[in-house]
Amino acid sequence: MIAAAHLSEGYYLTFAAILFCIGAVGLLVRRNVLVMFMCVELMLNAVNVTFVAFSRALNDISGQAIVFFVLVVAAAEVAVGLAIIVAIFRRRRNGATADDIDLLQG
């Protein structure tokens, strides 16, 4: 069933690892909350790539099925996350960054 001349899954997985870490680092270094969300999306996409690559390597469909769940979760998260941001920014119109949200500390 599987064509012999596939590119080894290692390439995809390495790519995914790099993408994942770029996303993670992005979340750490950016201060705009929306960009931070985007970085989370990058990480989720990296995971998706991983699932798909494994799915092919294992010749197992469930890897692809799982990606659907990730998509749904991502969508739900974004909806709620953006709603929270909207609620916050309603109060603070002057474009606050994540660093300005630090009432709670210590």
Binding site: A24, L27, L28, V29, R30, R31, M36, A98, D99, I101, D102, L103, L104, Q105, G106
Partner: protein
């Protein structure tokens, strides 16, 4: 009722004064002055009567059987260790209870008058009775432990009575000093008991009698020396003598009863009682003899120059106790006991006499402010005078026989060094007692307000008082060991001196009389050594050396008398007319630097006071304030501080920035990944 049944009732002797004490402690205030005193005296008198009954009962037994133990109940029993509350009646203890109750009764009687008007009158007699109880337990105890009970009991009473006038700082300090110094001796007593239990398995005197001889020499020496440490403490021998002079802060009857006649001789009792250990050791005996001799000498030197009437007597007591130990140390226990008896009579007489003098001169104690008092208090002067003649060792008074017996025993024991020292001490005794007697009762009257003040000597006030005041008021070290160097107080008397009440005169006279005739109980003539014979069952096989011939014995006696008389003569020459200037004591002038040394009691006390009040106290303060609070507790709190700092650190890390929290997660992840690398065997 046969005599053994009677002896079973020996516990009545301590019980009588105990009853008195309890009654007085509980309802003494209601009994009042002077009934309380009569009650206490009555209890003592009854005890004396009962002691006489005991004596008779004892005498009715054959000599070999004169030892009776009556056991009340088990005191402490655990494991193989067992001690009873039991009373041992034997010639030694009977002798002592007679002494305690007899002299005690007289001094009680004296105190009725002396203490009259004191606000804590009944309590004084309660303590007095309690003291008698403890002393009787001490001598009647059938084991070391029970003796120790009495030993501590008399210490307690001594503490209470020295500090009786607790409002005076000097009194309360002296009482603490007395107790603590005695505790040093008790340390020896306790360790000795541990040794005894280890060696014999029992603290009973009967076990000692059976087992002491079989002990190794070193064990016996250890036990003996440790016991002797206790004796040194209680009997104020050189080294631990410092408390006794201070004890004069107590009322004078206390000085007479406790610090002259009875308690301080407990050490002698203990050495006599524990003689098997000393005998077995040998070395210990030499130590006892030497310490005794040195004490006799050194205390004598200090007594030479003291200006305080009681303090002279105190040092004299120390000196005389030295003689007793000297006797015991050369194996002459009977002589030692004889000396105790004689000393009890004359020293009690002297103290009571001095008490009457103090009483009659509105609390004057400085002999330089007295003089010519025989005119005002003739009976006391007579009693005091007789006692004086006795103590200086003039024949045929008891003092002569006692001192002569001691010196002879030393000489024939070939302990020539201690003999020589004893002889020298006799010279000093002759001098200082004569000095005191003359300054008090003879010569010019210096107590009047118009008498010379001796102002040019006032600045001679030095160290003793200075150190006394340098310390804070409530200080253990602030105790008045010597008053030497104090300027003469201005005369303050508002009335003429007066004689004491009959109850005060009577005991002095009786005691002086006894002092005169007490020699009869032990004359160094064959067949007249009643006391030695009576005590023989106790000291079986341990009798001291005897003169080899009458002539050499007589020669020695004459030598001792001659030496004593020399001292008297010197004192007579200096003090016959009293003092022209109260601030100028010839003995000071003549002795020079040595006088200051003697006067300050060889600076021993001041040295100890300086040590305790100085480096030791600072060291203890450092331990308490710095080491305990900052090192140990600081360590404890330091642990808390470390955690607190860690908590502060965590608060700092928690910046409130969400990115940093995410960084925390990433760093944790990185750490786990690094672990994973290690785990997978990569890198």
């Amino acid at each position: 009722m046969n005599s053994r049944d009677l002896l079973d009732l020996v516990w009545l002797v301590p019980l009588l004064p105990l009853t008195g004490a309890v009654v007085l402690l509980l309802v003494g205030k209601r009994i009042g002055d002077p009934k309380a005193g009569w009650l206490a005296t009555g209890a003592m008198g009854l005890a004396f009567v009962w002691s006489l009954v005991m004596l008779i009962a004892m005498l009715s037994l054959p000599a070999a059987e004169r030892s009776h133990v009556s056991t009340a109940f088990t005191w402490i029993g655990a494991g193989t260790f067992h001690v009873d509350i039991g009373f041992l009646a034997d010639p030694l203890s009977i002798t002592w209870i007679l002494l305690v109750t007899g002299v005690g009764s007289l001094i009680h009687l004296y105190a009725i008058g002396y203490m009259h008007g004191d606000e804590r009158y009944s309590r004084f007699f309660a303590y007095f009775n309690l003291f008698a109880t403890a002393m009787l337990v001490l001598v009647l105890g059938s084991s070391f432990l029970l003796t120790f009970l009495g030993w501590e009991g008399v210490g307690l009473c001594s503490y209470l009575l020295i500090g009786f006038w607790f409002e005076r700082t000097r009194a309360s300090s002296a009482s603490v000093k007395a107790f603590v110094t005695n505790r040093v001796g008790d340390f020896g007593f306790m360790v000795a008991m541990f040794f005894i239990v280890g060696a014999l398995g029992s603290l009973d005197y009967s076990a000692m009698a059976e087992g002491a001889g079989a002990l190794s020499k070193s064990t016996a020496t250890a036990i003996a020396l440790l016991l002797f440490v206790a004796c040194v403490g209680k009997s104020a021998q050189i080294g631990l003598h410092i408390w006794l002079p201070d004890a004069m802060e107590g009322p004078t009857p206390v000085s007479a009863l406790i610090h002259a006649a009875t308690m301080v001789t407990a050490g002698v009792y203990l050495v006599c009682r524990a003689h098997p250990f000393f005998e077995r050791s040998g070395v210990a005996m030499d130590v006892v003899a030497l310490v005794g001799a040195l004490t006799a000498l050194i205390a004598g030197t200090v007594a030479l120059v003291q200006p305080d009437i009681k303090r002279v007597l105190a040092y004299s007591t120390v000196s005389q106790l030295g003689y007793m130990f000297l006797a015991a140390g050369v194996g002459a226990y009977s002589i030692a006991v004889f000396f105790v008896l004689a000393h009890a009579f004359y020293k009690a007489a002297l103290f009571l006499g001095s008490g009457t003098v103090i009483h009659g001169t509105e609390e004057t104690q400085d002999v330089r402010r007295m003089g010519g008092l025989r005119k005002y208090m003739p009976f006391t002067a007579a009693g005091f005078g007789i006692a004086w003649l006795t103590i200086v060792g003039l024949p045929p008074f008891s003092g002569f026989w006692a001192k002569d017996g001691v010196l002879a025993a030393a000489f024939y024991d070939h302990s020539y060094v201690v003999w020589a020292i004893g002889l020298l001490a006799a010279l000093l005794t002759g001098f200082y007692m004569t000095r005191e007697t003359l300054l008090v009762f003879a010569g010019n009257e210096r107590f009047r307000a118009d008498a010379l003040v001796g102002a040019d000597h006032a600045e001679g006030a030095d160290a003793a008082m200075v150190t006394d005041h340098a310390h804070t008021e409530h200080d253990i070290t602030a105790s008045p060991t010597v008053d030497y160097g104090m300027p003469v107080a201005p005369a303050h008397m508002t009335h003429e001196p007066h004689e004491g009440t009959p109850t005060m005169i009577l005991p002095v006279i009786v005691l002086a009389g006894l002092a005169m005739i007490a020699g009869l109980v032990e004359l160094p003539f064959h067949g007249l050594e009643f006391l030695s014979k009576w005590l023989e069952p106790t000291f079986e096989g341990a009798e001291g050396a005897k003169p080899t011939s009458f002539l050499s014995g007589f020669g020695l006696s004459m030598l001792a008398v001659a030496i004593g008389v020399t001292g008297i003569v010197i004192a007579l020459r200096w003090y016959r007319r009293g003092l022209d200037d109260p601030g100028d004591d010839p003995v000071d002038r003549k002795l020079g630097a040595a006088g200051r040394l003697f006067g300050h009691a060889w600076y021993y006390d001041e040295g100890i006071a300086a040590l305790v009040g100085g480096p030791i106290r600072r060291g203890a303060q450092w331990v308490a304030d710095v080491f305990d609070q900052q090192v140990i507790d600081g360590g404890v709190n330091g642990v808390a501080k470390v955690f607190g700092a860690a908590g502060a650190g965590m608060r700092k890390v928690q910046t409130g920035l969400v990115r940093q929290y995410a960084l925390g997660i990433v760093l944790g992840m990185v750490a786990l990944l690094i672990w994973a690398l290690w785990r997978a065997g990569i890198g």
